[in-house]
């Protein structure tokens, strides 16, 4: 019995290790081959590079306008997530604290559309973007993300506020604080844990979203990181050394983000899922 258990434990470990290697293989193979010359890559894709040659990186940094695309993505993610947090925190708090028919209605209005798939409303959204002259505008793109993201965030804040006692807020009002001060100085700091979750999940969503920028941004000066990578792939369809180095630097920001915030990211998923 004991022996059998030990064997199965070894087998499970072996399986997990092989699986982990397969899981990492796209990244490792891309990294490995991104340092090679084209000739080297074509002779053997499984060999380690003979030297750490950064020529491909120098080439693609320039060709995909890496820093510009990176800046564009940061701008869109930064603006949209800031708006989502501020707008939803204040709305979620007030909706939770107000018990009128209207508050119930507004809350239901936010929740009701949470399940509408993006691909089924992308064309009417595009129409709104055209009408508001936001095509090719990074701020416009950020505003669309805010509009798409607030309902989930309002839901999360609303749920979190329920667990915070109301007495403190009432006391502060008695002392002559106005509602906005109460929110800004008192409630917002208390919301920190849920703000972290909202922030991280939304940054990742906006950062990795492809279809919306593909529709909204037509001018390559405004391209996000994913759109630039995609364009580069189209231009260099058989030059794998260029493509692989581009993929590595395009994936790098999220991998660094993951290294720093892994705990919060994983906690956000399990909490969000089991609550919803």
């Amino acid at each position: 019995m004991k022996k059998k258990r030990a064997i199965s434990s070894v087998l499970i470990n072996a399986g997990l290790i092989i699986g982990a290697l397969i899981w990492l293989s796209p990244l490792l193979l891309a990294l490995m081959n991104s340092f090679k010359t084209n000739g080297e890559l074509l002779t053997n894709v499984m060999s380690l590079p003979t030297e750490l040659n950064f020529d491909n990186y120098a080439r693609t940094l320039d060709k995909m306008h890496y820093f510009r695309s990176f800046g564009n993505t940061v701008l869109v993610a930064g603006v949209s997530v800031t708006l989502i947090i501020l707008f939803s925190a204040v709305a979620g708090w007030k909706l939770c604290r107000t018990k009128t028919k209207l508050s119930g209605f507004i809350y239901a209005l936010f929740i009701f559309s949470m399940l509408i798939p993006f691909s089924s409303i992308m064309i009417p959204i595009y129409r709104v973007i055209l009408a508001l002259k936001l095509k090719n505008s990074l701020i416009g793109l950020a505003l669309v993300y805010a509009g798409l993201g607030v309902s989930m965030a309002v839901f999360l804040y609303h749920g979190f506020v329920k667990g915070i006692p109301q007495e403190l807020e009432e006391a502060a009002m008695m002392d002559g604080c106005n509602q906005f001060q109460v929110f800004w100085y008192m409630v917002l700091p208390l919301l920190k844990p849920i703000t972290a979750t909202v922030c991280i999940t939304n940054v990742l969503w906006v950062w990795n979203d492809f279809l919306l920028p593909l529709i909204v941004l037509g001018d390559n000066k405004k391209y996000t990181l994913l759109l630039s990578t995609n364009t580069l792939f189209g231009q260099y369809s058989s030059d794998w050394t260029a493509i692989l180095s581009a993929l590595i630097i395009a994936a790098l920001p999220v991998i660094i983000f993951y290294a720093f915030f892994q705990k919060q990211i994983l906690r956000g998923i399990s909490e969000g899922a089991l609550k919803g």
């Binding site: 107000t98 399940l115 089924s120 509009g147």
Partner: protein
């Protein structure tokens, strides 16, 4: 002004920023979409005609649309099973380890961080270069297929990349659920002579059923919208063999034809399909949960 009126007014004031962006960019598009679906709007001309149900009638005889619907159903059915089975196996295996839980979790979740577009291109390298190399040099001839060009294999290429990307997310949810299963319950069952398979199917699985409901829901919902991974791997081809509904709509609206009205009719149908199926799923699985 009465007190309740004033409460409602401050409420509106505090909700206004969120409400405005939400109405403009989500709710109004969602509602007006149904209206556009009944027009022949092509995006260029300012005015368009109301054609009532003509678009919907045309959709019914649109061969490519139904082909993409069929493809998407096939994809969703396979993904719901494959992604959840792999994720659950991984979660159970990782949870049973005394050492290395953290590192396994880190590695298996990683692909979920990377956009499917980037992941898709990385896999493209594997499918078009690495596998051929392995077939030629290592004798792995079973890998010697046109993974991208042949629709029989490109379907599985898409499934493989999607699984690689999605499984980490599901695994985290299953892991959290497994941690909620009391260890002494399993121990008691083992003492009573149950083997590990019985323990899993009779105790663990029923206890993590809520997580299963969530994960299947999530796979269904994201599966029906599949776009990125197909866009980067096959572009919907060869021909239109691997085109999903979302891709079909995208092409109708933004490539070539620019028939927004018609494409919106298709979007409305997609929405109805997703809604009906996810509601059925939630209904069925929730009632299962209650039975136990």
């Amino acid at each position: 002004m009465s007190k309740s009126k004033r409460t409602n007014l401050t409420l509106l004031l505090f909700c206004a920023p969120a409400l405005i962006v939400y109405l403009v960019f989500k709710l109004i598009p969602a509602i007006s979409g149904i209206g556009y679906a009944m027009t022949d709007w092509n995006g260029l001309s300012k005015d368009f005609d109301f054609v009532f149900l003509d678009n919907f009638i045309e959709v019914f005889s649109d061969k490519y649309f139904w082909q993409s619907v069929w493809f998407t159903f096939k994809y969703v059915a396979v993904m719901v099973v494959v992604a959840n089975v792999v994720a659950l196996l991984l979660a159970v295996a990782i949870e049973s380890r005394r050492h290395g839980k953290g590192i396994y979790r880190t590695i298996y979740y990683m692909p979920n961080m990377i956009s499917m577009v980037i992941g898709g291109y990385m896999w493209m390298f594997i499918f078009t270069q690495v596998l051929y190399y392995m077939a030629d040099n290592w004798g792995f001839t079973f890998l010697d297929h046109s993974w991208i060009g042949d629709p029989r294999f490109s379907f599985w290429a898409i499934v493989i990349v999607s699984t690689w990307s999605m499984v980490g997310y599901l695994m985290i949810i299953y892991l959290a659920a497994l941690q909620g299963v009391p260890a002494d319950l399993i121990e008691a069952a083992e003492l009573a002579g149950a083997n590990s398979r019985q323990c899993f199917f009779k105790i663990t699985l029923p206890m993590i059923l809520p997580a299963l409901t969530i994960c299947v829901f999530w796979t269904l919902n994201s599966g029906f919208q599949v776009f990125d991974v197909i866009y980067s791997l096959t572009g919907g081809g060869p021909g239109r063999a691997t085109q999903s509904v979302a891709m079909n709509i995208y092409e109708e609206a933004f490539r070539g034809n620019i028939r927004y009205g018609y494409a919106t009719a298709k979007s409305t149908i997609l929405f109805l399909i997703v809604m009906v199926i996810t509601l059925i799923q939630l209904r069925v699985m929730k009632s299962r949960e209650e039975e136990l």
